[in-house]
Symmetry: C2
Subunit: 245 residues, 2 copies
DNA sequence: CACGCGACTTGAGACAGATCAATGCCTTGC
DNA sequence: GCAAGGCATTGATCTGTCTCAAGTCGCGTG
């Protein structure tokens, strides 16, 4: 189900540019800011790692020693309140860069949904690379800017949208970032649980479930199985979402 | 009431480094990444401007031609839904840099609360300066990273906190960024209206008002007048906020 | 194939916060 | 000094979503 790497990957320092050059995630990643011929420099500081399903690889509050780049699978990013209430701030798929922060502790946790592969960069190591490749730093600024825009959109959703609007917005957002094999009916896969969706949208599991059911009743979507959604009526969904996001 | 500039400021291109060198906002701003001797370069591309109370100087959806740096006053940053529902994503005070985005349209609007002074930088002009001063670009990445962390904290607030926790968090956040003249009782000024606070916290005016009244009844805060708050019991407020933010 | 477990769905009732409706209280202008 | 308008507060009621409580489904296991 998960896009497994073509080669067996073990936790190790990379040698040569090869693993980066053939990385599935590179086209969608900050790494594409680095030319093929300079790739060796980046590969030298990357440690390829994996996280088993449900395993956390970033812990909110812990000393921030590394940056991360997801290469396969999906991770949930979240913050917790002392009593256990959770807010998922985003889902990180292949190409997603994690760990940007001036602070010396992580501001959020990251947990693997399914199996996740990622590159880990020790902060000082990556800093050196950034000094040599301003294009990479510029690219990071672009990534951060985009995430900021997405975060503002999410604040609008959490602060002002109804449950129906939230779920519609969520499905639409997933559909625009799932372009492959577009047919008359868009199919999208939801690797995360209903609980994850609820904590992402500021709702409860029950409300997410009820809302999806209602969208199905209204023939706007189809739910062939628990982790797939068919979008039957994109326009209706857009109208329900209240706006672009 | 507002910190008016010491010199009369008109909308004009700057000459020499002087206005930047003596700018009140520089110490808290990205501009501090540039040495005094290079400041002329930055001043040359800055256009000093002001916005009257209530006036928008950034409009969501419009072509993004400039970056901005607030030098005095406070602006509200917000997004709207088609039916008028509003989410304020933040308040921008002196030193706040605005307009970061890869997209060619603004993702949010900015409106002056009271009188606002700001520097405007045409995007291509600032880009040239960035090419010459990597330190400034690095600083921008730092700013963006910090805002991202703040945005995640706000998502936690909007998605998972109760009204009381939201208001307490808001007051605390304002209190940490209002360090001047700390006495036994911290006094903080709220330049924005109750309506702004409500739209920032994902609540209604009435709920904000009621919650503040309740905090006053509980002797946690004092409300000498509509735009000032006294924090009588910082610890109680922290306990109510549920966490740091 | 029965079993058990975890994730999901569905229903009924409760409640935090929204909405609707006065009322109060500054500020401004005449 | 007084009227008017704009915010803010307070009260009464309503409602969308949460909470609590059963089910149901699907899947791996013995």
């Amino acid at each position: 189900m998960l896009p497994l790497p073509r080669r067996p990957i073990v936790v190790r320092r990379l040698h040569g540019a090869e693993p980066c050059a053939s990385c599935d995630a590179r086209p969608n990643s900050v790494c594409s800011a680095i030319d093929d011929r300079d790739l060796e420099r980046l590969a030298a500081v990357a440690v390829v790692s994996k996280a088993e399903p449900g395993r956390a690889f970033i812990n909110e509050g812990e000393r921030a020693t590394s940056f991360f780049n997801v290469t396969a699978g999906t991770a949930r990013l979240f913050k917790l309140l002392p009593d256990g209430r959770r807010q998922i701030t985003g889902f990180a798929g292949a190409g997603h860069f994690l760990g940007l922060a001036v602070s010396d502790t992580y501001a959020f946790s990251a947990e693997a949904i399914g199996l996740v592969f990622y590159c880990r960069f020790a902060r000082p190591r990556l800093r050196e690379v950034l000094d040599d490749f301003p294009a990479l730093e510029r690219r990071l600024l672009g990534v951060a800017s985009n995430e900021l825009v997405a975060a503002q959109e999410q604040m609008l959703l959490l602060g002002r949208k109804t449950a129906k609007e939230r779920v519609a917005s969520f499905l639409l957002a997933r559909s625009v970032e799932t372009p492959p094999c577009t047919g008359p009916v868009q199919r999208l896969s939801l690797p995360m649980t209903r609980s994850d969706i609820a904590d992402y949208l500021g709702l409860t599991i029950e409300t997410v479930s009820r809302t999806l059911t209602r969208l199905k009743m209204d023939r706007v979507i189809g739910i062939p199985n628990i982790s797939d959604i068919l979008i039957h009526d994109q326009h209706a969904l857009e109208a329900l979402a209240g706006c672009g996001g």
